[in-house]
């Protein structure tokens, strides 16, 4: 955490994702994608971060001599219909964006010309009888993509075939807010009534294989992430700043961690250092958790937390596949 770099951009950023680097162990990605929301015209954009001095090791750095370490520069952007509700890097030049219009669009980043173009557009994957319904989350594994939406529907897409493979039209009675793969053919999703449910995609029917729910008042769960090495450990963030850690092997209520003072919008395990967990919240703070206690906590049911840094920043955190670069976006700051 060597410094905070601030850039005002003229949009409200809803999602932010680092581009996966070709070789995560050697190089750190310095490119990230953003998706905006709540504007007359929303955009998906790519940005580059001038490497901090520490990384000046002869790799291909920004040729511009004027580049200030930590300076964020826009590479390109493209208009996007509706709010960008989720972003997903499928490959390092393919970005999948979910929209509040119920569409899902695949963008290709042409690195030579620094442009973004629409590769595939899936129209109205999520819908109500009369209205479009927002797509709220994306997850992918081995060329398959799962989309979830406020209409309670789950779609399975085969990106290679450009086809919708399967629709679970009545997967949930209310809005599904986020989805993650737990293992091959199994997904977990959170909904607006505080449930964590899993589906085995090989099974017929729309019904979930498992329903887990919290005790007490059923508050919406906004986001989900799976532990990178222990697929049965699921972290979800919800209303009132609660972080829940679930153990899919056990049919019991999740471990509850009181954290932020307002909605948690995103929760992420560090992909290669899974003992680090990050959350960001409506209250404007981003928390870095020591998740090595997760196991102990799951066993003992004890609370754990380590407060690393709080800022008045809001909304989004994204991880870099190596190292702890962290970008938060303050709604007002844009």
């Amino acid at each position: 955490m060597e410094g905070i770099y601030v850039k005002y951009v003229n949009q409200k950023v809803n999602k932010i994702r680092w581009r996966p680097s070709e070789n995560p162990s050697l190089e750190q990605s310095n490119t990230f994608a953003t998706g905006s929301w709540d504007d007359e015209e929303n955009r998906v954009g790519l940005w580059t971060l001038s490497p901090s001095r520490r990384d000046d090791d002869g790799t291909d750095v920004d040729p511009s001599p004027l580049a200030v370490p930590g300076e964020m520069r826009s590479l390109c952007s493209v208009a996007h219909r509706g709010d960008v509700t989720d972003l997903l890097y499928l490959k390092n030049d393919l970005i999948l964006a979910a929209s509040s219009t119920g569409n899902v669009t695949l963008y290709k980043h042409h690195q030579r010309s620094e442009t973004l173009s629409v590769q595939i557009s899936y129209e109205r994957l999520h819908r109500c009888p009369r209205r479009r319904s927002p797509c709220t989350g994306l997850a992918h594994r081995d060329g398959e993509v799962v989309t979830v939406g406020e209409d309670g529907r789950i779609n399975l897409l085969d990106i290679g075939q450009q086809a919708v493979v399967r629709c679970l039209d009545e997967a949930d009675s209310c809005a599904i807010n986020a989805v993650a793969y737990t293992r091959q053919n199994e997904i977990a999703a959170t909904n607006s009534t505080g449930q964590l449910r899993t589906w085995d995609l090989r099974q017929p029917g729309d019904g979930a294989t498992r329903n887990l729910h919290m005790t007490g008042e059923r508050l919406p769960l906004n986001c989900i992430d799976r532990h990178p090495t222990q697929p049965h450990v699921i972290a979800t963030g919800g209303q009132h700043g609660m972080l829940y850690v679930w153990d899919l092997r056990q049919e019991r209520s999740p471990t509850l961690l009181s954290a932020h003072s307002s909605d948690i919008w995103e929760v992420k395990f560090h992909p290669t250092h899974p003992d680090n967990l990050f959350t960001c919240s409506e209250d404007g703070s981003t928390w870095h958790w020591d998740a090595s206690f997760v196991k102990a906590a799951l066993q003992a049911g004890k609370n754990f937390r380590r407060f690393l840094k709080s800022s008045r920043w809001l909304t989004i955190y994204s991880w870099n596949s190596s190292g702890f670069n962290c970008i938060s976006v303050k709604e007002i700051l844009q």
Partner: protein, 704 residues
Amino acid sequence: MQFGTSLAARHTPLRHLYGYMTNMAAEREEGNVMIIPDAECAAGMTVKWGFGNKMLLYASRGPLPPETDKPYGAKDVRLHELKWDTVMHSCLVRPLVNESHAIFMSLQSKRLAVGETGTRPELVKFSRGYRSVIHACILELKKAGNSTLDEEEAAEHAALSCLFYETDLVWSICEIFFIEQTPGGVILPKLLEWVRWHFHRGEQLLQELLQSVHDEESTIKPELHENYWPAVYSFVLQGRLVEARKLLSLHLKYKSEPFQSMGELLCKMPIYNGLTGCSVQEFELTWQRWQDECYRRLEDGEFITYKELETVAKILCGDEGVFVDMKDQCETWYHMLISRLLYTNPAVKGLELQYHTQACIDAYGGNLQLGAVDHILLSAIEYDVYQVISDSSTHLSWWFAAHLTDLLRAAGQLDDAAARPAQGGAAGACDGDLRESLLLDYAASLTAHPSLWRVAADYFDHCPQYGRHYLERYLERIPLETERKAQKVIRMCEEREMTELASSICKVMGMRAFHEGQLGSALSWCLRSKDASFAAFISDKFLSGHMERGDLSHLDMLDNLGPSTLFSSSLTFLGKYREFHRLYESNDMKGAASLLLSLLTCRLAPRKFWLNLLVDVVPLLEMEPLLFSSNDTYELLHLLEDVQTAQRLQIEGSTRRGIESDSKAETRRKGASSNVEKEKLDLLRLALAKNLARSFIVEGSLAH
């Protein structure tokens, strides 16, 4: 001037719709007529306000006399939707909105910390912060203006950057007069800085000169270039004597006596900066000595061989006549004012400035030629804070007026009590506060933009009197496309304890989901709204679904209602009824029977559902061992009677209505369904009778 030509085509949107508090002829309504190109509207039209900055116009005619109706024969009826993109809605201005918001917020927190008035140096920092934001915005606009090929867009950018240039011009002079403290009250050094910051004529002339000299080195001598002397004058007029001397040194005859003499004068000119520890009186003495020297050398004819040098000398002597000739170099009356004062009254106090303005204004064609910005500057020079604010809210932007006023209030420059009698409010009912009213207007202009409501909310939060009401009014009207946005808005309501509004938003979301056929979502919003009548409505829909299809839908939700159902008896019933199904399915007949009985006896269910509950009893009555005691059975029989009586009444009622409404099919359908029901009831009666008999036997044997 860098923006010179673009001014003619400038758009300043705010000045039209928001033009108020002004006493200038230019802003009288004749100047604000807008034409709607529509033939039907030519004979009259009406407007209806919408949300934010929108309104709808449509052709209309005068009211008809009471009790008359006639066709108007209007053709091609059109609706005209008007909105005024306020300045702040431009994409390039967004960073200005957001960055200045950050400064505003930190200023508010400072004020909370140190009380009403902060210390001056700190406020100057805030003021500079705002100005640097303006500056960054101008740069962005210029960059965009240069890169676009679209003429209209370029003109728009030029107009906007011109607006912000004026904003900075006014802001910086206000900073000098109202926020900064000047040592010894000598204001001129600051004003010189101001002039140098905003007027770059000298540099421009010099640059052109150097360019052409470099291009055609051999042919043109610098001193012969048409820009040479104007550049010298410009530098001298701005008190940039080092630059002036450097430029003079380029002259071929620099080594000659007159040039050397001038160089010496320029070098020796005393400058007051308030830091060297010399008092104003001391400074005035040295100044007088220096100017006497200038005057002497001019009188002695030292510069007579070069009339341009003589002009410079006249400037140094503060010669009244020469300044009129310097009209082009000064460009504006206020530049001239400062240049003149520099050489006539360098220790002038801020308050005395206003007595020197008229001559300069006259040099530029008199008061009639004054524009809006001139009037604002004039008011600033007259230390009339209120006039500055009121005029700039009309002519610059709400952004400017609101932020400056807020800063001035922090600096203790505004005392509303003093303003009121001067303006003579007509209505006794008014309870106005200038800062708040401007902040409200600014925040309201932000809410008209679809995504700036979050920023606006923070401004509303800092308007103690009306802010909350405004915010509430906007929050309840924000279009909610996604649940997440709804959640954010509800969160904002909760943080401000607007519980009633939060509940209303949940109800609106629930109602919308219901209309889209998403009963599950509707129920989840209903739970969040905590509204009992809405809950009754939704749970009723679930039960009617059950009555139509014979099973409950959305089981994943009903199984997981949680404790939140307790706020409404209808939801409690729904949850319990689902629990009964679960018990029944898991073969816990005893549990199922007692739950069903308690559901029936506590009369929690809506009346129309009683029959369904009774029918659910039938299979349980036939179970072994006995599930209902004789007392239970009596209770059930009572209920059965109730249901039947109600049914009879209803049938009678509906047949009567059926005759009236003439819908025989309806009556017939009802009759048919009541036949089915009658069969069900007979079945139930029989089952109850059997159960009663069995219970007597069981109970009798137990008694023995």
